[in-house]
Each structure stands twice: as C-alpha cells, then as structure tokens.
Amino acid sequence: MSTSRLATVRLRTPEGVAFSFRLASPALRLAALAIDFAVISASWSVISILFSLLGILSQDVARGASIVGYFLFSQGYRIGLEWRWRGQTIGKRLLQLRVIDERGLPLSFAQVVMRNLLRFIDALPAAYAVGGLAALLSTRAQRLGDLAAGTLVIWEPTEPMPDLAALRGEKYNSLRRHPGVVARLRQAIAPAEARVAWQALARRDQLEAESRVALFAELAAHFRSLTPMPDELLDGLSDEQFVRNVVDVLYLTRS
C-alpha cells in the first residue's frame, strides 16, 4: 500500500492488480458528520413522540425509556447504517464517502463497532479535536477510531464511463496523409504529454477563451517542435485543430 500527496491510497491485490482509493478530506468528513448530527436530531424529535406515548402508562417509565432510547439511537445510528449500507451513513452517502477496510475489503461488524465506539476519545475534549488532529497528522487521514479499527474513509465520486466523443470528430485529419510524421510523433510523444493533450480537448469547454487559446498554442508549439512537418500540413490549421489531429492519430486507429 502506498500513499501520495494527492491523498490517495494505492492497493495491490495478491493477484497483482493495483487500484487506488481517494481519501476523504477532513473537511468532507466534518460535513458528513454535521449532516448525520442533523439527521439524528431530526429523527429523534419524531421518535421521542413515540416514547412520550409511554407517559400514558407512567411518566417515569417514559423518561427512563427516553434516556436509554436516545443513547441507543445516537450510538446505534452510525453502527447500524455503516453495517447495513457497507460503510455509509446518510451524511456519507450524500457526500459520496464510504468507510472501507484498509486492505480494500468490506467492513466487519467488529470494525464498524470499534471505530464508532472510539468516537468517545476522538470527540475529546470537544468538537472532535483529538480525532481531527489525528486525521490531519495521519498520512491516510485516519482518526484514532480508524487507526484502531483498521479502516479508511474514502471519497468515491461516480466514475463516468470513458467518453470518446471528444475525439470522434468526422473532420478531415491532414496528418493521416503523412504516415512518417505520425510515426515520429508516436515515438516522440511521452504518455504524460499525450494525456495532457487529451485532457485539454476533453475539458476545452471548461476553459476560458484566452486560457484555451494559450494552452493549445503551447501544446501545438511543443508537438511541432518534435519533428519537421511539411508546410501544407499546417496551412490554415488552428492550434487547437492541430492538437486534435495529433491526439487523434495517437489514440485512434482508423481504416
């Protein structure tokens, strides 16, 4: 397992498959905590009405049941939901967070109970100061409960299917008439450079106009510098279209 500055944890399975999880930031976790607190408060205001009905039998019994009921509900809410929903409470589900075993496995019941019972110490002296400090200092953003239970809180935004529509233009690509240039470009362009160009095209609509022009000018200049190109290949071609053509010949094979 390894961690990086980008707050990810990389796991390698016994079969040799590697994948990574994005760790939830302390701020996101705090927001989920606040949502859960609000949910507990709101739910209890409803449930307590049911307990107050016990007052018909005895006010004393109603008070006693209410004291125990709130304790069980406030403690059991997280334990029950994290167990039932595989590491999620309502707050975590809304913010796309999930508690997982640090080996990438699902949580065991003992882990769920342990990390939640240790909130007693993480919440000390107030406002989760101990837990927050531990999470900030930990390379894997673990509060003490997570350290003891061997759990991580990860952020798992919905991963979209890879969309190739950004490249699938039907425009004529002048580069394809020069296989020698294409071969030299494929040889000279590093994977990281290709990735930058791909991302620039995929996100072009998110860029401001001036930034977009400057970015594609820089990319086009770099690609042009890698290999000599005939003039007719570049005539009348904008920087962005040139970059699009380069990425097209790097990623896609067409008959």
């Binding site: 999880f21 006693g64 065991s108 019972l117 240790l118 061997g150 699938r168 790097l250």
Partner: protein, 341 residues
C-alpha cells in the same frame, strides 16, 4: 505506446457495464444469497476487468478509463474477498453462552490487571479515609455521601425517601445504565492512550469505592453497606472491569510487547475481542442499572438486608460461574473453544 483506445473501450464496455450492474445489485441488497451462476459470472467479469486495468495501465495514458476501471475493480475485489464475513448469522445465545465467556477467559490477564488496579485503588481509598477522615470530601465527589453514614442509614430506614424514589425509579434506572455504560466505554476507548487513561479510570473508581466502604465501616454500618451495594455492585463493578479489560487489550495491542506482528495486524487481531468485551459489559450494566434502581435503594424494613445480601451473593456466584465455566468444551472434544491466553 498507445493501444487503440476507442476499439478497446467499445469492445470491453458491455462487460464493464454488466459488472457494474451486478455490483450495484449486490450493494442494494448485500445479504441476498448469491446464486452459483451469478457468482461465476461475477468472478469472470472481475478477472476480465482486472486484466483490462492492467492492460490500460501498461499501454495507455488515459486517466478517465483507468479511474473508472480502478473503481470497478476495487468494488469487485471487496465483493469477492469479503463474502465470508457478510453471510455470517448473528446468534445471540451462542454469543452470550460461548463467545463472550471464552473471550473473557482468553483475555483474563487484562482482567486480572484491571482487578489488581481496582483493588489497589480501593485499599488506597480505605487507608486515606481511615487515616484522614477529612479526605472524604476529596475522594467521594457525591453530595449525598458527604454526611454522616449513621444519619443517612437512619433516614433511609425511616422510609421518608421512598415516596420520592417511587416517582423516579424508571428515569433513575435509565440514567444509571447510560452513565455507567459511557464510563465503561470511555475506559475502553482510553486504551488508545497506551492504557494510561484506562488505568486512571479503574484506579480512581477503586479509590472512590474504598473511601465509601471505609466511611461506612468506621461508622459501624457494614450490614447496610452490603445490603446497599451488593445487589448491583457485584454486576456493575465486574462490568466496568470487563470494559477496562477491553481497554487494556487495546493497549497491549498498541504496545505489542513480545509480538512479532505489525501494529496494524495486532490491532486487527484484538478488535473482535475488545468489541465482545465491551458489548458484554454494556449488557451487564443494563442489568445492574435495573437492580440499582428497583432493588438497591430499598432498605430494611421494606427489604431485609439478609435478602438483599443473599441476592447479591447469588448474582456473584452466577456471574462467576458464567465467566469461568460457560462455553467450555468437554474434555476430549475435537472442538476446542478456548485458546490459550
């Protein structure tokens, strides 16, 4: 450098989507039994997605497809390797009669340590009050115990307090259960302070009890004391000690003395036992709370001290038998429930 990404994605997309759909269905209902055919399909798709991920990571430079596949493979990996734990059924009677007492015995070293600390605290409290009666106000932070024990006993036996208690027995029991459980869970959680916090809680509770005991003994109220404390104390004190036992198990895992396992593995190994002990302690405290509210506060002549003391002794014997004997496998049985400590 680059695979034909478009062709690759177009070819593999249906398999990824099918795997995604199966995983979503599992997430919606994790406890649904997995039919053999579906399990085989899941395994096949998982292996295929893993291979795709390896291929993409080696030959291509496209982050979105890789992230999507990583997410898919991570979910499938968890589904496969966690299947055993998910299907285990909860059996309360087995847990109560076997799991808990076996865990207690397996970790009895931590309990003996907690007990020794508690007794040391009690002796300290007794000596402090015997040698300096003025220390009572410092060692016993309870207003109703600050007065002369003889006056309290006379008041309790006159029955003047019973009317008031009768109106708040339920809420008093509830308060006791919650408060004692919170203290016990805190004692367990403070095991993460390498046991120092747990040690302080156990010792200070011993000091308080010792001070109370000596105060009443010096006042010649030993019988009242036994009738008052035994019915709930013989359950409540062991419960707090069992919770603390969990804290010391946690502390021992942190310290790792004589262990070759890594810290992470030591904590992982200790976690189920700590949780079992804590849940057991909480259960005992529910009983203790009920007894304290419904029985302990009634004194002679309403309830004879002999009856209360006898009740306490029966409880102590039952608890001792349960913790020491319950869940033991018969000699010669092939199923060995207890592991050596």
């Amino acid at each position: 450098m680059i695979v034909n990404l478009e062709q690759f994605v177009v070819e593999e997309r249906p398999k990824w989507e099918r795997l995604d759909a199966l995983l979503r269905a599992r997430a919606r209902d994790p406890w649904r039994p997995l039919p053999l055919e579906e399990a085989r399909e899941l395994e096949r798709l998982y292996q295929r997605a893993s291979a795709d991920l390896a291929r993409l990571a080696t030959f291509a430079a496209e982050p979105e497809a890789r992230q999507y596949l990583e997410s898919l493979v991570a979910r499938a990996f968890a589904e496969f390797h966690g299947a055993e734990a998910e299907v285990r059924r909860v059996r309360p009677w087995v847990w109560l009669s076997t799991t808990l007492p076996q865990t207690f015995r397996r970790r009895c070293g931590a309990f003996h340590f907690a007990l020794a600390l508690f007794l040391a605290g009690s002796v300290f409290g007794m000596l402090a009050v015997a040698l300096d009666p003025g220390a009572k106000s410092v060692l016993m932070p309870f207003g109703h115990l600050q007065g002369d024990p003889r006056e309290r006993v006379a008041e309790e036996e006159s029955g003047t307090k019973l009317g008031d208690l009768g109106e708040r027995k339920g809420s008093f029991a509830g308060y006791l259960m919650v408060h004692n459980t919170q203290v016990t869970l805190l004692a367990m959680a403070l095991g993460l302070s390498w046991g120092v916090g747990t040690l302080v809680i156990v010792f200070s509770n011993g000091v308080m009890l010792g001070a109370v005991v000596m105060d009443y003994l010096l006042a010649g109220q030993g019988v009242f004391l036994l009738g008052w404390l035994l019915p709930h104390g013989v359950i409540e004190i062991p419960a707090v000690l069992i919770g603390s036992q969990g804290g010391f198990v946690l502390a021992a895992a942190l310290l790792g003395r004589g262990e070759r396992l890594r810290l992470r593995d030591r904590l992982r190994a200790a976690t189920p036992d700590v949780i079992t002990l804590c849940l057991g302690a909480a259960l005992l405290l529910v009983w203790a709370g009920l007894v304290e509210a419904l029985l302990s506060q009634y004194h002679a002549p309403v309830l004879p001290y002999s009856a209360k003391i006898a009740f306490g002794l029966i409880e102590a014997a039952a608890l001792s038998w349960w913790l020491a004997r319950s869940g033991r496998t018969p000699p010669g049985s092939s199923l060995q429930g207890d592991r050596s400590p």
